[in-house]
Symmetry: C2
Subunit: 325 residues, 2 copies
């Protein structure tokens, strides 16, 4: 009974009409008016692996799972359409917590132009949130993969890096005698707990001529390597050029490391790493500016075997490096 | 490293080209040529809740998760297009088992005209398999929801019921002195472990004039009640009319119950329960026949408050009944 009641409550909370959605939660499947091309990604977050319920509110957990999935659409330059939410709840998980999780996921979806159109709720030993997102595109040539980087291209990243990792470090520390004011601390927490997928920037960078793009989910040292591998090219980045999140200095000093190493290896910033031909440098900057985001040039694409290097940190063992192949 | 290697292995095993799929695993998102309407469902199965790894092979687990998701498309009368597979694997889960799971899921998808176009692999405390399936339709008036049943409609079900529940009962029993030959036992096991989604029958029944349809995943006593609730009608079924799976008699005798009660309450048969106007009786029978499936008439839709009754078992406490609202 409990799962069905919860599904009904979720149904009511998502009952807002959407012009694209013909059938949604409550039928065997959702029915949605499609665009010409579907862009689909899914992202699964597991308690104890991708988050801890002791560190995040249910709303933050829902927001974050939705953000991670939507960020994949941003990295393609696609618009967001519908989201489908699978919730595996431990026995005894409070209904109001489940609703808060779904509300926050739905709120972020709505803020990004998307709507939750379906999902399921099951029992499990641990909390698992899996989000499938679908975006629509009319022209597939405006979608950006990981495989289009070419020698001579410039590499950039939106926003600032390392904030989410610093926010998590502050959560992991029981007591944190870090030299940080409450506002800076809250900002770093928000970078970890309520990331903003860069959908508008992704679409604008695609229109500006982006040839390869990826979202920074595992740390740019790992994610840029995926572009190198799929494009068959050498991405030569500069550690000193990475844009640092505000407050990262203080957290790095407290952790006894350099801010740039956290920026390179820290995941879950959900910024976009993009490769553009040199001729598109200014249009890419303009694209980011229209989205009120900074764009930092952090390296170049060079010919040669697929690899990622930091020219100013040869052989550096970067935090997060172990995630790469 | 391990997850990335596994994703690469999955990528290779799914590398077959598909004309609809423009980008798939290996990019941030899959890109697929869409039809006019997208029909989307997801289904999540959790170790210890929806299956036990001690009772099913990895291939059976993958097949079953894919079947459950595809069955939702069948219940809409939709064709299958793409599937997206989220695998949460416990630490130490063997790569060859994960590949066998994905292979079987992909094999069933292919047999149903679908292709796995994306997914993700994460670590977890327990095995969780979540499948999102997308089908395409050109004419939404040919899609069948749960809300269209009208007084006077006839209610039918495809195939036979209770087989999956009997197969599970045989697995749950350590030693089973049931009067069943090995072939009958294997057939019941297959009903549980390798269900076949009724995609062709669902589409044919939709064309034949089905007004409401649902797949039998929780037991027809529960699933037909969903039709009653969404349609605002009374579904009056006859317990004695339920089609019984071969071998169900012997398992029921061994369990000390009546076969019809297992057929009514047993879930996971993934047959289709359909409501058609009386005028479409013969065309519905013909539709099932073209798919080499039987169609059994099991009751009628009557006016009155939403409810499900078995006219020949008033007030019966049916196995599985507790799942209904």
């Amino acid at each position: 009974v409990s799962e069905l009641r919860l599904i009904e409550a979720i149904e009511r909370s998502l009952a807002a009409e959407h012009p694209r959605v013909i059938r949604s939660i409550g039928d065997d499947a959702a029915v949605v008016r499609a665009g010409r091309y579907a862009v689909t990604s899914l992202d699964t977050m597991v308690e104890g692996v991708h988050f801890r319920s002791s560190q995040l509110t249910p709303g933050e957990i829902g927001h974050r799972a939705m953000a991670a999935a939507l960020s994949d659409l941003a990295a393609m330059g696609a618009c967001a359409g519908e989201a489908y939410l699978s919730l595996a709840l431990p026995r005894g998980y409070a209904h109001e917590d489940a609703l808060a999780l779904v509300d926050a996921a739905g709120g972020l979806a709505a803020a990004c132009g998307a709507t939750i159109a379906g999902g399921d709720v099951v029992s499990a030993g641990e909390l698992v949130v899996s989000v499938t997102v679908v975006g629509w595109a009319e022209d597939p040539s405006l979608l950006v993969g990981r495989d289009g980087a070419r020698p001579g291209d410039l590499v950039a990243v939106t926003g600032a890096l390392g904030g989410a990792a610093a926010g998590l470090a502050l959560l992991d520390a029981e007591t944190t005698p870090v030299n940080l004011g409450p506002d800076a601390r809250a900002a770093l927490h928000a970078r970890y707990a309520r990331p903003r997928p860069r959908l508008a920037a992704g679409a604008a960078l695609a229109r500006a001529g982006a040839r390869a793009m990826i979202d920074v989910s595992d740390g740019i040292a790992t994610d840029a390597r995926h572009i190198a591998r799929r494009s068959g090219a050498h991405l030569a980045l500069e550690l000193a050029a990475l844009p640092l999140a505000a407050g990262l200095d203080a957290v790095a000093a407290w952790l006894g490391t350099e801010p740039a190493r956290i920026a390179a290896g820290g995941g879950e910033d959900y910024e976009l790493c993009v490769c553009v031909p040199a001729s598109a440098r200014e249009s890419a900057e303009a694209a980011a500016r229209t989205c009120a985001l900074s764009l930092s040039w952090i390296g170049r694409v060079e010919a040669g075997p697929s690899r990622l290097t930091f020219s100013d940190a040869p052989g550096a063992e970067l935090h997060g490096y172990e995630h790469s192949s």
